[in-house]
């Protein structure tokens, strides 16, 4: 039923605010353990369960997230 989706996070734009993590209904995002060049642990996409709802992109203050859907 739910669309199959994925997101791309521009890790160098991410400031690790965790807002995307907080809104994702599918827990598809978490903070990476590595640091980006701003010194943040950026968010990374970790799940196959993404339904491309775009909630993460809507809240992301850095426009770091692009959302893709298979149809």
């Amino acid at each position: 039923m739910a669309a199959n989706g994925m997101i791309k996070i521009d890790q160098n734009l991410c400031k690790a605010c965790e807002l995307c993590i907080n809104v994702c209904p599918d827990n598809a995002i978490k903070l990476s353990s590595s640091l980006n060049h701003k010194g943040y642990h950026p968010a990374e996409f970790v799940s196959e369960r993404c339904k491309a709802c775009a909630l993460c992109a809507i809240v992301c203050p850095e426009i770091a997230i692009e959302v893709y859907r298979d149809r």
Binding site: G5, M6, N12, L13, K15, A16, C17, E18, L19, N22, V23, Y40, A52, A54, L55, A57, I58, V59, C60, P61, E62, I63, I65, E66, V67, Y68, R69, D70, R71
Partner: protein, 250 residues
């Protein structure tokens, strides 16, 4: 796979300088999306404030003219009167719009200037480091209300949006919050409406957005977004305060 959410065209490709979890860049995006959707990028003139969004011209890919602190609506008036066919928006913080700019804002609205104001209410002076704003809430501690805002000393949060809604020159006035994705989308709908009302020549339009300032609220971004709902929306009720297009129909 199809890209379903990406950066709007009316934004340049520059990373934002805002703090992590700041609402400003979300609101930038909403405005840019609206400009894209209305296809008016080449007619828009934006007026950023003195405030954290002072560098907004680095992000919006439309003509932008800086304003002195608080004078956005006066500068906007100058633009609109000189070029009535252009679409003018001011982008202002709470200090900018409701403290130093009180007179300019009120009178532009009262004159029914066909301009749109995006009013970012984060209940604090962000850029200058967390001083009290006109919209700082009772009890809220800031660097210039270190004991928390007291009604008998510092006065009450100023409901400038409600005041503007009472003015005959105002055509569309709404208050929104960034607390959740749904609310963000609702804010966008009102921003769009505000621009449309301007384009129809109906008068002044204003959209207030309750917006987090994690830095000066001294909380994490996630907490800040929660505070929007648990605290700010209580003081500043959301809603469409005025919409002359509705009245016309009704």
């Amino acid at each position: 796979m199809k890209k379903v959410y990406t950066k709007p065209k009316s934004l340049k490709d520059a990373p934002f300088h805002y703090c992590p979890g700041c609402g400003h860049s979300i609101i930038h995006r909403l405005v840019a999306e609206v400009i894209d959707e209305l296809g008016i990028r080449d007619k828009v003139i934006g007026i950023p404030p003195a405030g954290c969004a002072v560098l907004a011209y680095n992000y919006f890919d439309v003509d932008m003219c800086e304003s002195a602190h608080g004078r956005g609506c006066a500068v906007g008036t100058g633009f609109k009167r000189a070029q009535p066919d252009k679409i003018i928006f001011t982008y202002q913080g709470d200090g900018d719009m409701a403290a130093i700019g009180t007179a300019e804002t009120l009178h532009a609205a009262n004159r029914g200037e066909c301009i749109t104001s995006i009013f970012v209410n984060n209940a604090v002076y962000g850029m200058t480091g967390g001083q009290m704003a006109p919209t700082t809430m009772l009890g809220q501690k800031t660097t210039t209300s270190p004991m928390g805002r007291r009604p008998d000393v510092e006065g009450y949060p100023l409901m400038i949006t409600d005041i503007i809604a009472t003015l005959k020159g105002a055509a569309f006035v709404a208050r929104h919050s960034l607390a959740t994705p749904a609310k963000i989308l609702a804010a966008k709908r009102s921003i769009k409406k505000a621009f449309e009302v301007q384009m129809q020549g109906l008068g002044y339009s204003l959209v207030e957005c309750l917006s987090p300032c994690p830095t000066n609220w001294k909380v994490t971004p996630v907490e800040a977004f929660k505070l929007l709902e648990t605290r700010m929306e209580k003081e500043f009720p959301l809603g469409i305060l005025k919409d002359v297009t509705k009245k016309a129909k009704g």
